[in-house]
């Protein structure tokens, strides 16, 4: 039909010529005009025009259908510099209700112009001719699959593929295995992997049974690839149960149609069609109703725990000779066919001299030949409390065998465990073997009543009423000392730093001290009956070095006249300058001539020098 449309559109294009090539045309078609509610219909919309930009079609609300896009195919050709494009949009429609339905009109807008199709009509029926969605009804295990009953038009397609579900037993007992088989028959190539949605199995304990079984089967002369998926179901209670419909979504490859046609038709078809996505097909099965029978009351043992199948049981102890308090591990294995996972714990009755504890269970499920079975192992720890022979009664386990429709009982052999007395030293050395038995449960110490604590029996500290510390004057003054000390430290540190860093400050600071030392030395020399030259040398140095230090000058090479001029320049009184000059000249006279001087005069000169220095110390120069 698509190719027919393509031919029509192409013919119209030739007819209208280049002048109308810019116009857009739209055409829509359905692949059938009748369908059942379980089927799908393919809607194809073809939009073509002399443009490279084909717009998307616009649909009216499709209330009666659920639409899925199945892709688009584009064909662009250039003819006499004119571009011509055709885009085919494909949609899968799933009907939501029965009746006569109208689709469309479908519109497309290009350059402000709107183009539309005629409405399409299709009749959706409840039953009648069946297509792909047909599923054979459930059947018994021995029945053969039958082809779906389809209408004439759909017969060929129906034969291409179909699905079915069936169970091996429609009237099982509670907890008896029912094998549900889903089979997919396909005689066509699938575009991609189908999506299988298993049926709902409410009311059943389900056990998957991989792998998928694949084989070929010929039905009505046609060869089908059959894929089977099996699931073991165990009904949990008697009554009527429904296994829901299974669903399979597949995409059918139509490539064989492309080559089936005549070689001369090849130009009459859409050359891009081989790149299309497959045609989607949804298949569903009918539900299956099962009548689950209750287990018979007749012959049911009193301690029957619900095991259905066929089982065997064994029990063994890891040792038969133990000392009292030492644990013995009992391993009970139940093996056979049936729902292994739901097997209940066997009842172990032990003598009073022993205690028994559960130590867990493990399962090994097998699915050989799609029959669920395996082994379930229960472990129990037995602690003999006293010496003697602990004999375990034979274990019994009941099950219902659905094949024989009778209850069966399995019984193990009794086990005798010889328990010897444990030496006292061993008990002390090793401590309790099973902590849980000898562990003393600790409890919080409960306070029965609250009372005040007891009186003090010794008088430890006594003081009289005294002035508080913060009012103690000594305490307050002591704290005031801190800032005072810090201030002194600050000044002293600053002074010391200056002495090392500032030469002028250092000379000024030491000038008087050095001068006094010189004069003291002069007096010392006088006392030692030294020569006048030595005394006057010290006096001269005392005065000149003092003045040089005060003024930060070099003392060496400075003459008396230069010294006096410097003092004058610093504003020293003329009297003091004269006095200084006179004494320095006297010193020069005594140092460099042989003039004899009275020793009394020596002392007087030293005193005069001291007066001069003191006078200079008092003034700022």
């Amino acid at each position: 039909m698509v190719y027919g449309l393509w031919s029509t559109v192409y013919g119209l294009w030739l007819f209208t010529g280049v002048a109308s090539a810019a116009d857009i045309s739209i055409a829509a078609s359905l692949d059938r005009d009748r369908m059942t509610i379980n089927e799908t219909v393919t809607l194809t919309v073809v939009i073509s025009g002399a443009t490279g930009r084909i717009p998307e079609p616009q649909f009216p609300p499709l209330a009666d259908f659920t639409a899925y896009s199945s892709g688009r195919a584009q064909n662009i050709s250039v003819h006499n510099t004119q571009v011509f494009a055709q885009v085919t949009f494909t949609y899968i429609l799933v009907p939501n209700a029965t009746g006569k339905k109208t689709i469309g009109p479908i519109r497309v807008t290009y350059d402000g112009q709107t183009y539309s199709t005629e409405p399409l009509e299709i009749e959706v029926t409840d039953s009648g001719p069946q297509g792909y969605a047909q599923a054979p009804s459930s059947r018994g295990p021995s029945s053969q699959p039958s082809l779906p009953q389809t209408g004439d038009q759909e017969q060929g397609r129906a034969q291409e593929m179909f699905i079915e579900t069936y169970v091996d037993n429609l009237t099982p007992y509670v907890n008896e295995q029912v094998t549900l088989t889903f089979a997919f028959y396909q005689a066509v190539q699938l575009f991609d992997n189908p999506v299988y949605t298993p049926p709902s199995t409410t009311g059943f304990w389900a056990e998957d049974m991989p792998p998928q079984n694949k084989y070929y089967k010929v039905i009505n002369g046609r060869r089908y690839l059959v894929t089977e998926i099996k699931t073991a179901l165990f009904p949990t209670a008697p009554g009527q149960y429904v296994i829901g419909p299974a669903r399979l979504e597949a995409s059918v490859d139509r490539i064989e149609d492309f080559f089936r046609r005549s070689a001369f038709d090849i130009f009459d078809r859409d050359p891009m069609s081989i790149f299309r996505r497959g045609q989607p097909v949804i298949l569903t099965t009918d539900p299956i109703t099962l009548e689950v029978k209750a287990l018979p009351e007749q012959g049911r043992p009193r301690d029957f725990a619900g095991a259905v199948g066929q089982y065997d049981m064994s029990v063994k102890a890891d040792r038969l000779e133990v000392q009292e308090g030492d644990p013995v591990t009992l391993t009970i294995s139940i093996e056979g066919r049936g729902n292994i996972r739901t097997l209940s714990d066997p009842v172990v009755s032990v003598p009073d001299m022993c205690k028994v504890y559960d130590s867990g269970s493990s399962e090994e499920v097998t699915k050989n030949n799609y029959v669920v079975g395996g082994k379930k192992t229960f472990q129990k720890v037995l602690i003999p409390k006293s010496a003697g022979t602990a004999t375990l009664e034979p274990l019994t386990y009941h099950f219902f065998n659905p094949r024989t429709k009778e209850y069966g009982t399995i019984t193990t052999q009794p086990i005798a465990i010889n328990v010897t007395v444990k030496p006292q030293e061993a008990l002390q050395a090793t401590g309790p073997v099973v902590p849980s038995l000898t562990y003393t449960e600790k409890k919080e110490i409960a306070l029965i009543a609250t009372d005040i604590r007891y009186i003090k029996t010794e008088l430890r500290q006594m003081t009289g009423l005294q002035t508080p510390l913060y009012r103690n004057r000594l305490f307050i003054y002591a704290h005031l000392l801190s800032p005072l000390i810090l201030f002194i430290c600050f000044v002293d540190a600053r002074h010391r730093r200056k002495l090392t860093q500032d030469v002028r400050y250092a000379r000024l600071h030491r000038a008087h001290k050095v001068a006094r030392k010189r004069l003291k030395k002069a007096l010392q020399r006088l006392k030692e009956q030294d020569s006048g030259e030595a005394v006057y040398r010290e006096v001269y140095r005392a005065i000149t070095e003092y003045i040089a230090d005060r003024l930060n000058l070099s003392a060496s090479g400075m003459t008396t006249i230069e010294l006096c001029d410097t003092l004058r320049g610093r504003g020293v009184s003329e009297e003091l300058i004269h006095k200084t000059k006179k004494l320095l000249e006297e010193c020069d006279l005594m140092r460099f001539t042989d003039v004899k001087q009275d020793r009394g005069r020596f002392t007087q000169s030293v005193n005069e020098a001291e007066d001069i220095i003191v006078s200079l110390e008092r003034i700022r120069i």
């Binding site: 430890r460 508080p468 810090l486 010391r496």
Partner: protein, 262 residues
Amino acid sequence: MKVFNRRDLCALLLTCGMAYFLSIAAAEDTPQSLFARGNYLYEQGNYQEAIGRYEEIIRRGILSADVYYNAGNAYFKNGQLGKAIVNYERALLLAPRDKDTKKNLEIAQNKIVDKVKLPSTILLQRLLTDIHHAFTLDETLRFLSILVVILTVLIALAFYMIYARRALIPVIAFVAAIAVAVSISCGIKIYNRENAQEAVVIVPKVTVHSGPGEQYSVQFAVHEGTTFRAVKSLHGWLEMYISGDLRGWVKQEAVEMVWPVM
């Protein structure tokens, strides 16, 4: 020749006897003996007499956390909850880290009728408050003195040791921060001691008036053991403050100041 006649002998015996009794009386009067006697009476269940011995020690101007603690216990056993709390509080002022005193004060406070809603505090605030209350005022002042000495030495070193100044500054800042915190604690303690003193209700129930006199309207009533802050006293009435709007005047004889004890 007789050295002593009978009369002299009698006088001598009398003198010795008096001296003996006086020495016993003197021994009975020492704080230690009063304390031991009080403890003995306490153990005999004679709490009233025990209180007398402990109070005698206190009246002599002797401050001892042990005496206040035992006095508190004796008052508690004697059913005088308010007096017990006062003495526990006094014991805590002298020995703020004594666990027995804290526990007994907690037990006594649990028996108070009045429930005073205290403002909610955050963890840091509670931690600082606990540290503040863990030391006596004198302890805090001594610690502050040590910090001041350390701080003085560190600053002096920083003056002289210029090369070490960079290393010293963070240490000085740390010590100074602690010193500031301790100073604040000292300031609060001194302020509380001088101004806002604690008092405890020592009668079963007392009404609180809006002014210092019976003529003023009754605001509310408080029960024995309730502790409050005494703001000021006037004409035998004490202005009290508990929390929030709970403020008023109460008769001074119905309450007892925690400090001073005399």
